[in-house]
């Protein structure tokens, strides 16, 4: 700690109990309040979700998560089809995006000349800045027809013996939503994977090269394993984004509250059903059930996000420790 900081602390400590007297104490106190407001708001958010979903929690208990009836008219609510849809689309999206995004991150961190790398990184960041409703708009008018006319008939012809690739090709459904989500997770995975790849110390690469490894071998067997925690963290961040993504999915998922094995079939996700039904919910039970879904979504994304942050923090600590 530097000398001024210690001085400031000392004067703060002696005067703390005499009220706020100096400008420093006022500044300290005011900014503290605002920093604490972040904690307060987060706590309030959790509390609000918990209280507002009380009616549904009391009526359905844990069966809410395990039943698949969704009938607002009869007052029957089960979250299973939505949880299924959310998980299925997110996992499919990651299956599509991980190879592409990690490949791109390797290219940007290891191979591309710095100017090309920073230009591409900039473009990828712009991809992250595009509002999700725009992704939805494009997906509805380009991805859905493509799926209906080309991709789904092709998959049916080649892999149609699997239950996942059967049924009518109608365009909207799990697969279309997954493709859109995959694109939306690119920037997250690329940006953070690239950073953790670049944090790998130079000696690691040079040692591998000196042992006679080719560039690819050095990258794939030394650099990528070294940065694996950061890459995993970036994938978790992408997953959290995919799980909570609302607008783009709502527009192409097909809005069918049922579970289908086929990826071509229309489905529903948690975020999409909240977006579609919340404003029109007729009964308080319906609203409450939707809020409970929000609570489920919130809990899952918080856990995934927390894991991701911890992984990223762990790798950046490791990186700084190595470079010192």
């Amino acid at each position: 700690m530097s000398a001024p900081a210690i001085l400031a602390n000392k004067s703060g400590r002696t005067r703390r109990w005499h009220g706020l007297q100096t400008g420093d104490e006022v500044a300290h106190f005011v900014t503290f309040l605002f920093a604490a407001s972040v904690l307060f708001v987060t706590a309030f958010l959790v509390w609000e979700l918990w209280i507002q979903s009380a009616e549904s929690r009391a009526k359905f208990g844990f069966h809410f998560l395990a039943t698949s009836d969704w009938d607002p008219v009869l007052g029957q609510f089960g979250a299973l089809p939505f949880i299924y849809g959310t998980v299925l689309t997110s996992v499919l999206a990651l299956i599509i995006s991980i190879p592409l995004a990690v490949g791109a991150a390797i290219f940007l961190a290891e191979l591309a000349p710095p100017s090309l790398s920073s230009a591409c990184t900039f473009l990828v960041e712009l991809l992250a800045a595009i509002p999700s409703v725009i992704y939805g708009l494009l997906a509805l008018f380009t991805v859905v027809p493509l799926m209906r006319n080309y991709a789904e008939p092709f998959l049916k012809k080649t892999l149609g013996f699997l239950p996942f690739f059967q049924g009518p090709a109608i365009g909207v459904g799990y697969l279309a939503a997954s493709v859109v989500l995959a694109v939306m997770t690119f920037p997250f995975i690329i940006a953070i994977s690239r950073e953790s790849l670049m944090e790998v110390p130079r000696d690691q690469r040079e040692a591998a090269m000196a042992l006679g490894a080719t560039r690819w071998e050095s990258t794939f067997q030394v650099v990528v394993p070294y940065a694996r925690l950061g890459i995993l963290g970036s994938i978790f961040l992408g997953l959290a984004r995919a799980l909570g993504e609302t607008m783009a999915v709502t527009m192409v998922i097909g809005n069918d509250p049922a579970m289908h094995a086929s990826f071509f079939a229309p489905g529903y996700t948690i975020a999409a059903v909240i977006a579609n039904e919340f404003a029109e919910a007729g009964t308080s039970l319906h609203t409450s059930a939707l809020i409970e879904m929000g609570l489920v979504l919130f809990s899952v994304t918080i856990v995934v996000n927390a894991l991701a942050r911890l992984l990223v923090i762990a790798t950046s600590r490791k990186g700084t420790a190595q470079s010192q």
Binding site: P4, T22, G23, D24, V26, A27, T31, L33, F34, A35, S37, V38, L39, V41, T42, L45, E48, L49, A101, G103, A104, F107, L111, L123, E125, L126, L127, A129, I130, P131, S132, V133, I134, G136, L137, L138, L140, F141, T214, E217, L237, G244, E245, T246, M247, M251, A271, I274, A275, F278, A279, I291, G294, L297, F298, T301, I302, N305, A306, R309
Partner: protein, 282 residues
């Protein structure tokens, strides 16, 4: 020897593949922009920017109220959210203890990752249900919640880049800490902080999910902040899923307006950032 040739072929092939991956991801961006410019450019006209929406089936009409509604709500959200995050960020950078600051930082990151639809539910519970009506205020509140963590983290990040010597110089001249912060540190970090805030506001302007059931929608001018208000992203959503060709045309035009705004702010902000923050080393 053939083993070596095999390894070299694998090397070349895999490196080529990573290049293809990059090309695909970058290509997606250009495809998106191309489609928007092509379809939106066809549909945008003066009516779109100045007229109110017409009932379905009647061609023409515009989304002027949505453009204004978006501007009002985003402006209000910025007025609420940015200062809160800014002051909190100052605390983290200048006063923060270790564990409390870590908790705030971590929470801010988590809040940043909360799905926007959940933020919408929260804002509904806080600002719509008690007031018995959808309003621009509720929408602005929801958006401001998304701005707080962004503003907080940017402020902290850029204030920490201000060299210690600058602070110590001012302290050595006898300035109290608050004066050092407000006249030395904040001005030195201002360029970066503002840029980050602008990026955050651009992101909030594109948010649709938190507005769906806080600001709802409106086909007319909202006269008061307590009335349901139209916003550009919500209009894009409503128009795109409706079965009318003329509404699709308007959705594309609105998409073009939104993306132009988002991209222009992003490119400008990042250009300013890449020119370096005007902090003198030393």
């Amino acid at each position: 020897m053939s083993r070596l040739i095999y390894r070299k072929i694998v090397n070349g092939f895999m490196l080529f593949l990573t290049g293809v991956c990059t090309l695909v991801t970058v290509l997606v961006l250009f495809l998106i922009l191309g489609f928007l410019i092509y379809n939106g450019g066809k549909s945008i006209d003066w009516n779109f920017l100045t007229k109110l929406p017409l009932p379905p089936g009647e061609p023409g009409g515009g989304l002027a109220n949505a453009i204004v509604g978006s501007a009002v709500m985003v402006g209000l959200a910025a007025l609420i959210g940015l200062p809160v995050g800014f002051l909190g960020g100052i605390y983290l950078a200048e006063f923060g203890g270790k564990s409390f600051a870590f908790a705030v930082r971590y929470m801010a990151d988590l809040l940043n990752g909360v799905p926007s639809i959940v933020i919408g539910i929260f804002a509904w519970g806080v600002a719509v249900k008690p007031m018995h009506g959808y309003s621009a205020l509720a929408g602005a509140f929801a958006l401001s919640l998304m701005l707080v963590p962004i503003s907080l983290r940017t402020t902290e990040q850029f204030m920490l880049t201000v060299p210690r010597a600058l602070r110590e110089g001012a302290l050595a001249l006898g300035a109290p800490k608050w004066k050092v912060i407000s006249t030395v540190v904040v001005p030195a970090a201002m360029k970066g902080i503002l840029t980050g805030m602008i990026l955050g506001v651009a992101r909030a302007a594109g948010e649709c999910a938190p507005l769906l059931f806080t600001a709802l929608n409106n086909n007319f001018w909202a006269r008061r902040l307590t009335e349901p208000t139209a916003a550009l992203p919500v209009m894009i959503y409503r128009r795109a899923i409706a079965p009318y060709d003329d509404w699709h045309r308007q959705a594309w035009a609105a998409g073009l307006v939104l993306i132009a705004m988002v991209l222009i702010t992003n490119i400008t902000a990042r250009y300013i950032l890449s020119r370096g923050i005007s902090v003198q080393k030393g």
